[in-house]
Symmetry: C2
Subunit: 158 residues, 2 copies
Amino acid sequence: MLDKIDRNLLCMLQQDCKQSLQALAEAVNLTSTPCWKRLKRLKNKGYIRGRGALLDNEKLNLGLTSFVLIKTQQYSSEWYRTFVQRIAKIPDVLVFYRISGEYDYFMQLEVAYMKSCDIFNKRLVNGVLGLVDVTSSFAMENKIYHRATRARVKSSPN
Amino acid sequence: MLDKIDRNLLCMLQQDCKQSLQALAEAVNLTSTPCWKRLKRLKNKGYIRGRGALLDNEKLNLGLTSFVLIKTQQYSSEWYRTFVQRIAKIPDVLVFYRISGEYDYFMQLEVAYMKSCDIFNKRLVNGVLGLVDVTSSFAMENKIYHRATRARVKSSPN
DNA sequence: AGTGAAAGAATCACTTA
DNA sequence: TAAGTGATTCTTTCACT
């Protein structure tokens, strides 16, 4: 489905989607039109979900990252839907996954102050949500930044 | 430092950085030149770290997301540097944080098969890295997608 | 996959409030 | 210090080869 050129294009776009068609085309030894056709195809087929700016958390006063693991005893689909709806409304929540294993949900928060995390956690525990166990920790250092939540394109040596 | 217009621009760019200058300008009631100057300033001051395509993991055969928590008993800065260097070379690793609390590191992997996670974990445990405890779980469902690892711009109700 | 032309967008010197 | 006009240059897009 994807040849080497397509993969290269995706990889380049992932790092910088503002590169001109010409620059991209040159990098894969094509002229602009065939390159453009490939990009259009990749978009249409859904390989490219969107193109967004990556902002600086700290500059935006959201320098505190918190990871929250949640255990619950609620397993109805009704409860789950309500839970997700509420979580989705909270802008602090950057990442939300239902996971396998000891805990049921994983979340990543980005906030300005410790207090915000505290308020958030208290809401979860004291609220009507029936959560059994909420454990959180904080990011001290982030060493892999640009890959963050972007699909890797080049294949793994594994 | 940032007025309301700047915040609006950042918010729009975060969702879609391929919008034309004109479209952005209209949305904030400006003409293209002053809008362009603002964007340039936001870029230069570092609010915008980059602009990248958001790719589809599943289409790229990287549909399995794994979360790994690691505990170690190595606390020298020398060991840490080596550890980070090795981790950074593994393309499966999408996210890597040093964290506070019970565990020392948090990682998110994106891979094609369960086997890749297994190989990865075995490497960590059996390797020369001196890891004490490695626990992993898998993503079942991801309900908050586009916000992922992008700084939130609009303020929280908290 | 490539050429070339037409439409569209970004960039900047200069002007205005 | 911030916004606007208009000219120039660069980019995208597409019919045709």
